[in-house]
C-alpha cells in the first residue's frame, strides 16, 4: 500500500479557481500530480450528483472550488 496515490477530481470555476490553477503554473509552483481538473462554467452549476458520480467511479477525493 505504500505507493498508493489517491486520485482527486477537482471541479474548478472557470472565472476564479481555474484561473488560479493557471497562475500556479505561470508561477511554477509545484504540487502533487494526483488532481484531475474539470472546468465548470461557475460553481453555481455544481450539482451534488457530480460529487456522488465521481466517488462512484473510483475517485478518492473531490475538490470543489469557486
Amino acid at each position: 500500500m505504500s505507493d498508493w496515490e489517491p486520485k482527486i477530481a477537482a471541479f474548478l470555476c472557470n472565472w476564479c479557481s481555474y484561473g488560479a490553477a493557471d497562475l500556479a503554473g505561470v508561477s511554477r509552483m509545484q504540487y502533487p500530480a494526483n488532481i484531475r481538473i474539470i472546468r465548470i462554467p461557475c460553481t453555481g452549476a455544481m450539482s451534488p450528483n457530480f460529487i456522488l458520480q465521481s466517488l462512484r467511479h473510483g475517485v478518492d477525493g473531490v475538490w470543489v472550488s469557486g
Binding site: 486520485k7 477530481a9 490553477a21 500556479a24 503554473g25 505561470v26 462554467p41 450539482s47 465521481s54 475517485v59
Partner: protein, 932 residues
Amino acid sequence: MNIDILANSEIESVQGEQGYFEVKVRTKARYIDPQACTGCGECAAHCPISAVDVYNQSMGERRAIYIDYAQAVPLSFAIDQEACIGCGLCEKMCLAGAIKYDDAPQQNTLQVGSITLAVGTRTFDPSGLDFLGYGRFPNVVTSAEFERILSASGPYFGHLMRPLDREEPRKIAWLQCVGSRDTNNCGNAYCSSVCCMYAVKEAVIAKEHAGGDLDCAVFYMDMRTYGKDFERYYDQAREEEGVRFIRSRVHTITEVEESGDLELSFVDDAGRMQSEVFNMVVLSVGLETSPQTLELAEKFGLEVTDNRFCRTSTFAPIATSREGITVCGAFQGPKDIPSSVVDAGAAASAVGEALASARFSETRTKEVVPEKNVQGERPSIGVFVCKCGSNIAGVIDVAGVRDYAAKLPFVDYVTDNLYTCSQNTQEDMAEIIHEKNLNRVIVASCSPKTHEPLFQETLTNAGINKYLFSMVNIRNQDSWVHRNNPDLATEKAKDLVRMAVSNVALKEPLEEPELGIHQSALVIGGGISGMTSALSLARQGHDTHLVEQSSALGGQARFLYKTWKGEDIQSHLQELIAAVQAEPGLQVHLQTSVTQVDGFVGNFTSTLDNGEKEQTVTHGVTVMATGAGELEPAEYGYGQDARIKTALELDRLFQTDDPELKSVNTAVFIQCVGSREPERPYCSRVCCTHSIQNALELKTRNPAMNVYVLHRDIRTYGEKENLYNQARQAGVLFIRYNPEDKPVVQPKDGNLTVTVTDPILGRPLEIQTDLLTLATAIVPKRDEQLANFFKISHNDDGFFAERHAKMGPAEFATDGMFLCGLAHYPKSIDESIAQGKAAAGKAITLLAQEVIHSSGEVARVDPMYCSSCGVCVSICPYSAPSFIEEGRFAGKAQINPSLCKGCGLCAASCRSGAISLRGSDNRQIYAMIEAI
C-alpha cells in the same frame, strides 16, 4: 480587431486638429518579434542574467529577457538591452525563432481623428522625506511595495513578510498622506483620493493573510472613504476586523537597533506625546503626474493645473484645452478605478460624438465561412498535442500522449506540433480538419482561458461549429506544476486527454442566437447626467427619448449655485438644456413616467404616460438616470427656526442674492447630517466640498463674518483639497465633532445657539449664529416598480447596483441597461457628466453591433419535465428565466438565451432536472467523470 496596440512606444509629435491629427509614434526596439513570440517563457528559463524586477517594485529579480507580468498584453517577451550580455542563449532556445538581436526602433505616422490621453500616474517617491526613513530602514515600505508583498505573484508569493529578515510581522502601521496634502515637504497640496481606501483594504487583507493576530494601525488626518460602499468597508475594518485608526500625523520614525522594528513618535488626539513600536511600516504614498507626462502635455500643447494634472472644466470633464484631445484616468485628477473606468467610457463617447460623421468608415469586419452541418454524423475527433517549444515536451512525453490518444474511441487523427498556436499551425489545422473530414477537435496545450478563442476561430475558419471543441490544459496545470515528476505528468496528460475525448464526442453544434438591436435609446431622468447621456446618444445618430417625471429638465442642478471651481451652474445648465432641446433625434417627454415595460436587450417596448395620453416606444438600450434627493433632516432643530437651512436652501439664497444674507455675521455648517449614520451608513461624497464652497462664498461676501464648519472628517478629495486650504486661509474655522457627542442646536429667545465640544480644548464651545446650514444626506429614490420593469436591483442603501463596482460602474448586470448620476451614488456635477457620457458610450458599443450573437453555451428548459416551481426564475442573477405565458406549455419555465450567461446555476438548482446547460450538460460532465 479594430484596436491596434502599439506597445513599447512613445509619441514624438502631434500636428493638426480635431478630425485630422498626424501623430508620429516611435516604437522602441523589443529585440523580439511579438508576432512570432508565443510567450512560452523558455528563453527566460535559460537566460543567465538577472535584472531588477520593476513590476514587483524592485523587490525581486527577473531575467534580462522578460515579460512585465503574467497577464501582460501583448503576451510577448522583450529583451532588457541594458542588462543583456548578448550571450545568444535565448536565440538558441527559442524554437519559434522570435529573437531579433538586430531589432531597431521604428517610426510610424498615424492619421487619426481624435486622441485620448490615458497616460496614468505614478506614486510619490518618499526617499526625500528623511523623517520617515524610507530607503534607510528596510522595514519601511511604500503601499505599492506592500501591494506586491500581498500578491500571490509578488516577490514573496503572497506570504506576508517584512523585507529585512523575511519575518512575519505582528504589528504593521500605515501612514496616510505621504506625498499628499503636504505643501511643506513635497509640494503636493492636493489629496490623492485613493490612499485612505487602499490603506483600509491593505490592512484588512494583511489580517486575512496573517490570521487574526496581526495588529494593524492606520495613522490618518481625515479618513476619506467617500466612494460607494467604502464607508461600510471602513466601519467593518474598524468594528469587526479590529483595525485601529489613529488620528495623528507621525512626525518621526526611528529604527530600533538589532530588531529592525520601527518606533513611531506622534501626538495623540488628546495632545499627548506618544510612541509605539511596529514591526513594519507602510507609507500610503500619493499619486502624482510624472515629468514625462508633463513633457507629453507640453508636446500636445495642453494646459495643466497648479497641481500638475490636466486642466478640464466641470462641464466638460474629459475635454483638454485642445479640441479633439480628451483625457481620462489619473492624469485628469487623482482617482480610483471606478472613476477611471467612467472617464474612459466618457472619453470614448466624446470621441464618438466628435467623429460621428465618419462613423463605420474604417471599421474592419471578418469574412464569414459557411458552417458545415455535422449533426447526426458519427464523431470523428482530431487530437492536436502541443509541445509548446519545450514547455510541455520538456516534461511530458508528447509523442506518448499523441499515440495514446490515437487509440481512444472516435479519434481519427492525431498529431503533435511545436507550437499549436502559431499562425502556420493554425492554417495547417484548418486544412487537416477539412481534408480528414473531422467534426470534433481537441487541442492539448496551454490554458483555454488564453487560447480557446483562438482555436475556436480556427474551427470556424474550417467551417466547423466552434462548440465542437475541447481544450486540455497540459501546460499550466500539468507540465509546469509537475516538473519533477515527468512520468506522473505524462500519465495525467493521458487521463485529461481521455476525459476530453469522452466529453467532446458528446458535444453538439450550438447555435448562437442572433438578435437585432433596435437603434434607439430611452433615457429615464432629465437631470444633468440623463441629459448628457441622451445628448451623447443622439449626437452619435441614435433616436433618443428622454423621459422626465417633473415639468422641467435640470434635476438637482437647478438648485445649485456654483461649482467648487467657481463656475456658475445655472448658465451652464441652461446651455445644456438648450442643446438638448435643439438636438434633432432627441425627444424630450416632460411630466412623463414609464408605466409598462416589455422585452429585453435590443428590443425593449416601454409605455410612456404623460397624464393625458400613452405612447409606446421601442428602444434597444435604456439608461437609468433617475437621480436622488435631499434628505429632509429630522435633527438639529430643522423646521423650527427659519435660520436653520439645508445646503440647497443656502444655495437658493445665493442664487437670488437674498437680502437675508446681508444680516448674517456668524454662520455655522454642520456636516454629515443623515450620512454616515447607522440607518444610512454611506458618505454623501459632495457635502464637504459643497459646505466649504459656501463657507468661502459667505467669506467673500463678508470677510468679517465668523464661519464655522462642524465636521467628522473633511473629505475634499482630489484637487478639491485646494478649496479646504483656501477656506482655512480665509479664516473659516473647522471644528471636529464626535458622532457620540453631536453638536446641540438651541433656538431660544431669538438667538440660535450651537454647542459643540472642541476636540483640542476638550470643552464645549457655544456659538451664537445667524445662519445654520445642515449638510444633509443625498437619499436614493428607490423606485421598485422601475427596478422590476427593467430587472435591475438596488444595493442595501437603495442606490442602483451596477454590474461591477470597479470595472462596470456605468452599466447593469442586465444586458442593455446602463446607469449614471445620483441614482448610482452621490457624486459631483463633473462626475455625473462623465458617467452620463460613459453610460452612453457603453450603450453605443452595444448599439453599434446592430446584431448581436449571444453565446451558444446557455441553459435550456425541457418543458415536459418542468414542474413550474419557479426556482430558476427567482435564482437567476440575470433574469433570464421566466414563465411561458400562453400556449401548450403555459406556466412552465423558459430561458431567454440573450440574457443567459451560461453559469448553470438554474441547471444545478432545477429540482425536476428539466434544465440543461448546453455545451456543458450533465451527460458531458458525467462522461468526463467516468473517464477519470
